[in-house]
Symmetry: C2
Subunit: 133 residues, 2 copies
DNA sequence: ATGCATTCAATGCACAAGCATTTAATGCGC
DNA sequence: GCGCATTAAATGCTTGTGCATTGAATGCAT
């Protein structure tokens, strides 16, 4: 076995799974209870908030948060119904849709941000360096 | 830089999410196509296969694979229907149930093992050291 | 022994996710 | 212009998951 660099891959994978599960659950609980947001909801708002004009294409977001296109479509629908984002037609390509973060969305995101960061600081092992993506 | 708390936690988290999603999807696809198993299915069989007498309690497995107790219960039901595990009553505590891997289950697990390991070797960045769990 | 809180697993229910399909808009070739 | 393959996003459908509840077995206290 070539374990020149790699520790047992299985251990790594299991560790990653455990870490992912723990952190995800904590986020889900706290963001849900305190701000009425799911993890993916927040992730989407987060991307939108940091994007240039507060808008992005659906597929773009899907890639960013690792969800399927259909899942994203429905997620957007939920956020839209909640008034946190809006769908704007893209005039250059009318098949496309721009998802834009609303005032309320930005506000909600800002409120949730500290919670999010706090949990990451708590649960994420600090030895974890930036992973390639 | 290392400001006491570590590299940007958000980057770490996003990296972890991406890595998790990619690997999980790859496993899901390959294990599904080639062996008719989901990732969690395999994970459970894997734990059972390596456990002392090929048996374990439900809650024990739930913890190991980071699933809720109810999810595990149904997962076991599916595996049982597929003939890969069996449920045995535990005589010391008749509330409890021992999940035991069957012949067929062990065989299926053995077949799937190389696929699993191969994907982990492919997709998992080898810099990823063992995470605490 | 009787009652009561606790624990283990199963089940009802609601919901989010993926796959496959559909609808609509593009753009390319002719 | 007219088809035709391609792409974007929405929708039908199925399935897996979590939460809350239920049912059963246990153990402890009285």
């Amino acid at each position: 076995m070539d374990d020149g660099v790699g520790v047992d891959v299985v251990s790594s994978w299991r560790g990653l799974l455990a870490c992912h599960a723990t952190t995800w659950c904590a986020l889900e609980r706290e963001l849900g209870d305190k701000h009425g947001l799911g993890v993916s909801d927040f992730e989407v708002l987060d991307r939108l908030a940091e994007s240039e004009h507060g808008k992005a294409r659906v597929q773009e977001l899907a890639d960013a948060v690792s969800l399927s296109q259909s899942a994203l479509s429905r997620l957007i629908s939920r956020l839209e119904k909640a008034g946190l984002v809006s769908r704007d037609a893209c005039q250059h390509d009318r098949r496309g849709v721009f998802v834009r973060i609303t005032e309320a969305g930005a506000e909600r995101h800002e409120q949730a941000l500290p919670t999010h960061r706090a949990i990451l600081n708590d649960r994420l092992p600090q030895g974890l360096s930036a992973l390639p993506h």
